[in-house]
């Protein structure tokens, strides 16, 4: 039995301790906004926050989040109104969109720490998140917009 909080709701689950948090979120809790990309923490599509820290859920055994607070894209804001979500729409960032939950969660950690990151700081922070459609420049613009309009 593992117990932790997801998007403010306490959950208790009888899953194997080694199960990656990703599959617990997606298939046990049906929170499918967090995506499976690589399974080895190499692409960032599965990024969630654990106690506020951006973490690759695909490489996080669920036992390690015991008692912790997990935030997924579904819990970033109640209605898509986080400054990054608004900026993502304003800049029309997503193409296929599959990586964008992870991109936004990764960016949210940056802005929580650093309200006005430089372009270089943005690139350094986001370089572990792959977007195969090639929306990187739009992502940079959207983070800068959210930083401005926050």
């Amino acid at each position: 039995m593992v117990a932790f909080t997801v998007n403010g709701v306490r959950r208790e689950l009888g899953v194997d301790a080694n199960t990656p948090l990703l599959w617990v979120l997606r298939e046990h809790l049906k929170l499918t906004g967090t995506k499976f990309g690589c399974g080895i923490a190499s692409c960032g599509a599965c990024t969630v926050h654990i106690d506020g820290q951006a973490t690759r859920s695909c490489a996080t055994p669920v036992s390690t989040v015991e008692g912790k607070s997990v935030t997924t894209i579904e819990g970033l804001s109640p209605d898509g109104s986080h400054p990054l979500q608004k900026a993502w729409v304003a800049e029309q960032v997503p193409q296929c969109g599959y990586c964008q939950s992870g991109q936004i969660m990764q960016a949210a950690e940056l802005l929580a720490r650093n309200k006005a990151p430089s372009r270089e700081e943005i690139i350094e922070h986001m370089d572990g998140n792959i977007c195969r459609c090639g929306t990187y420049l739009k992502i940079i613009s959207a983070i800068q917009r959210a930083s401005r309009e926050g």
Binding site: L31, F36, G39, T72, L84, Q92, C96, L137
Partner: protein, 741 residues
């Protein structure tokens, strides 16, 4: 498979018209040439027993909501917005009231792409807007006319006195207004639907949405996690599946030791598949664990002996050996004869390696076969609903109408999701266990079971006459046939030419009087697929590299030389001038090189310029700036054309810098993003795209930046270092070696 599109061919001559309590549904039937029915059907299954009539559906509800069917796959290219916007424009609909939907039934006679001979549901080759554009304009215009006629009758005024504002019919003389929803409440079907001719369509000055920029309709769903992809399917009672695949195509499981896999808690079944072994269980984590515990030996197949690096050497030798003819692709004049008269002949050899699509959503499908095996429901995101239906119908021995496909958003396609083997395996597994099955490939499955852009070897000769005119062009491409590979899966015979490999080789942007491009087809047993940028990408690398080598030898500026040989191709000349201006081409650059490349793919033209530097110690190439100009005819959504071009440049950059698939003993050596290294944010240059909207019908724009990247970057490196890189990728070790560092 595509046919030449006659812009006048789609003519609404039949109709269904349903007035319902909920509103008004137009089933506007676009009757194509009935002969198209008899035409060879590449899908291998007869599509129709009546006239083939793709159509477009518009439903106007009494609350003013307008539902418009958008039949193309949405994989980020924006057609879920672009196609409905075309209808909405001619309908003069209020865009805020428009709700795009995927087709509820996958009937080519109603919704198929008129650009294909078989009206296939097939979103690839940047063919959605190109294929549907005219039919959708006509459908929208006709629906508007029906509304006008209905109001004219009700108000007793001549229809000619009526006009429309978005979703409202107006009679100016009496200052009366009525909304489309109000019309839907009373309108009745006319006996004959009005015929729409060219003159009835809007002129570009009247466009409200075409040529403007609409926010993409599904973008808000993609920032909250609400957008549903195939992998997100949740079906009551479903179980999970993982498949251990044969490492090479054609490998059948010979011995299967499932002892340890069976011991994993939650594993219910293990099912042998034609080229794999499926593990069924109650959770993803259980099936993944069990799959890794399977011990399987695989039967022999030609692909088991494939060694890609060795084969590429052989391909290069074959390319050089002109005694073996290839399959000509759109030749012009007599290149061989003209070459014999040439005063000077330039020769170049180039190589490219296998590439993996690396779409972010690993391949997956959920299938639920009914207890009697006579029907099936499928949840997936596919580029090819027609082939999906044909393959599943053949597998189960059922009619296509017994298949319900729930199309989802695609987490990247790039050609990969045109192939159906994962869907077919999911159906097999569901049938075997009698439950809905969600089959998910891991990233490792997706790489090692990838279907690749073929590796290629090129040999090109360019002959000049004594006056310095380029008179003969002979391009030999040695590669496997993608068309042959995919037609086996689709149960059809291979077409005589492989457009996927050969696109881009006819170089219409350079009207050389004698041109021969030929495909020398080798078979090595690799899995292959169409790939974003198709043949244009490797062919442009070869063609544009040699052009720069020639320009250098003749002491000519690379753009000036191209403008000369592009004489007679004014659209490309305009783009070349545009990128010269954007890049400030003639400016001296310290420590940086600049290079140009062009491509023409299915009437879409692109020119691009790259500015690069090279770290001579490490061999690392850095692209600092990329300027591109694209002419895809009328730009229906210009901002989206720019976004697709920018994205495809970034996609192509990975192919240049690092990406390659290596096959040894039939096994793919790469396995994940850790060793198949795609473009990351830190690789991306500043990119400036100029969208040149022209009066030509819209052509594709989903992939057209890809081909100009490798050539422009290679040319820039050559300008900077004097060293010509003739094979991809320009990985640091190769660059360092070439520089002699």
């Amino acid at each position: 498979m595509t046919k030449h599109l006659d812009p006048r061919a789609t003519d609404l001559s039949r109709r269904d018209f349903l007035g319902t309590a909920a509103g008004l549904t137009f089933a506007l039937t676009v009757a194509p040439d009935p002969l198209a029915l008899i035409h060879e059907d590449p899908s291998g299954v007869a599509l129709a027993d009546g006239p083939l009539s793709p159509n477009v559906w518009i439903t106007i509800a009494t609350d003013d909501t307008i539902t418009i069917v958008s039949p193309a796959a949405e994989m980020g290219q924006g057609t879920f917005t672009t196609l409905p916007a075309v209808i909405a424009d001619e309908l003069d609909a209020d865009w805020s009231k428009v709700k795009p939907v995927f087709p509820s039934e996958w009937n080519e006679k109603k919704f198929g792409n008129p650009g294909y001979d078989n009206y296939a549901f097939q979103t690839s080759a940047s063919f959605a807007v190109r294929g549907y554009f005219r039919a959708m304009r006509v459908a929208g215009a006709q629906a508007r006319r029906v509304l006008l006629d209905a109001v004219a009758t009700k108000w007793g005024v001549p229809a000619a006195e009526l006009s429309t504002e978005p979703s409202v019919v107006v009679h100016k003389a009496t200052n009366r207004h009525i909304s489309y929803g109000e019309i839907a409440a009373f309108a009745k079907a006319p006996a004959e639907l009005p015929k729409i001719e060219d003159k009835d369509l809007k002129t570009p000055a009247d466009f409200r949405y075409i040529g403007k920029d609409l926010p993409r309709v599904e973008v808000p769903l993609k920032v909250t996690g609400a957008a549903k992809y195939g992998i997100d399917a949740q079906v009551p009672g479903m179980v999970y599946a993982s498949v251990l695949q044969s490492p090479y195509p054609g490998g059948r499981p010979e011995t299967v030791d499932e002892t340890r896999a069976r011991q994993v808690p939650g594993i219910a079944d293990i099912v042998t598949l034609p080229e794999g072994v499926g593990v069924i269980g109650t959770s993803v984590e259980a099936t993944l664990r069990a799959k890794n515990l399977l011990k399987v030996s695989w039967g022999d197949a030609p692909g088991a002996h494939h060694d890609s690096e060795k084969a590429l050497e052989e391909f290069a030798a074959i390319a050089r050996d002109k005694s073996r003819d290839g399959v000509p692709y759109e030749p012009v004049g007599d290149a061989k004869a003209a070459m014999r008269t040439a005063a000077k002949i330039y020769r170049g050899e180039y190589r490219t390696r296998y590439l993996y699509h690396a779409q972010m959503e690993p391949m997956n499908a959920t299938a639920s076969v009914s207890a009697d095996g006579k029907s099936v429901e499928i949840w997936t995101g596919t580029q090819g609903p027609t082939n999906l239906h044909n393959q599943v119908a053949r597998l189960l021995g059922i009619d296509r109408t017994s298949i319900i496909l729930h199309q989802q958003f695609l987490g990247g396609g790039y050609g990969r999701r045109s192939q159906q083997e994962v869907v077919v395996d999911a159906v097999r597994l569901s049938k075997a266990v009698g439950k809905p099955v969600k089959l998910i490939w891991t990233r490792e499955d997706d790489v090692t079971g990838g279907k690749f852009r073929p590796m290629t070897a090129h040999h090109i000769e360019a002959g000049f006459d004594a006056s310095g005119k380029l008179i003969a062009w002979h391009h030999r491409v040695v590669a496997e046939s993608v068309a042959a590979y995919t037609s086996i899966a689709n149960g059809t015979s291979p077409p005589p030419v492989d457009r996927v490999v050969m696109k881009g080789s006819p170089i219409p942007q350079y009207p050389i009087p004698n041109k021969l491009a030929e495909h020398v087809i080798e078979a090595r047993g690799a899995r292959l697929a169409a790939f974003r940028g198709v043949g244009n990408a490797h062919n442009a690398f070869a063609v544009e590299s040699l052009l720069d080598e020639i320009a250098k030898d003749r002491g000519l500026d690379p753009i000036a030389f191209r403008l000369t040989i592009a004489e007679g191709a004014p659209r490309m000349q305009m783009l070349l001038r545009a990128v010269a201006e954007m890049s400030d081409w003639t400016r001296q650059r310290s420590g940086r090189g600049i290079g140009v490349g062009t491509m023409v793919k299915d009437d879409t033209l692109v020119a691009g310029v790259a500015e690069v530097s090279v770290d001579r110690a490490t061999g690392k190439v850095k692209v600092h700036n990329f300027w591109a100009a694209i002419d895809a005819g009328l730009a229906v959504q210009p901002r989206n054309v720019a976004a697709q071009t920018e994205g495809s440049i970034i996609y192509g950059l990975g192919h240049v810098l690092r990406e390659k698939i290596t096959i040894r003993n039939g096994r793919v050596l790469e396995s994940n993003y850790s060793d198949y290294e795609v473009t990351r944010m830190s690789d991306v240059p500043n990119i400036e795209v100029k969208v040149v909207s022209t009066d030509y019908p819209p052509t594709g724009a989903g992939e057209d930046g890809v081909p100009v990247v490798a050539c422009a970057v290679g040319n820039a490196i050559a300008m900077l270092t004097g060293v010509r890189l003739r094979e991809l990728p320009f990985a640091p070790e190769r660059v360092r070696g070439a520089l002699g560092a």
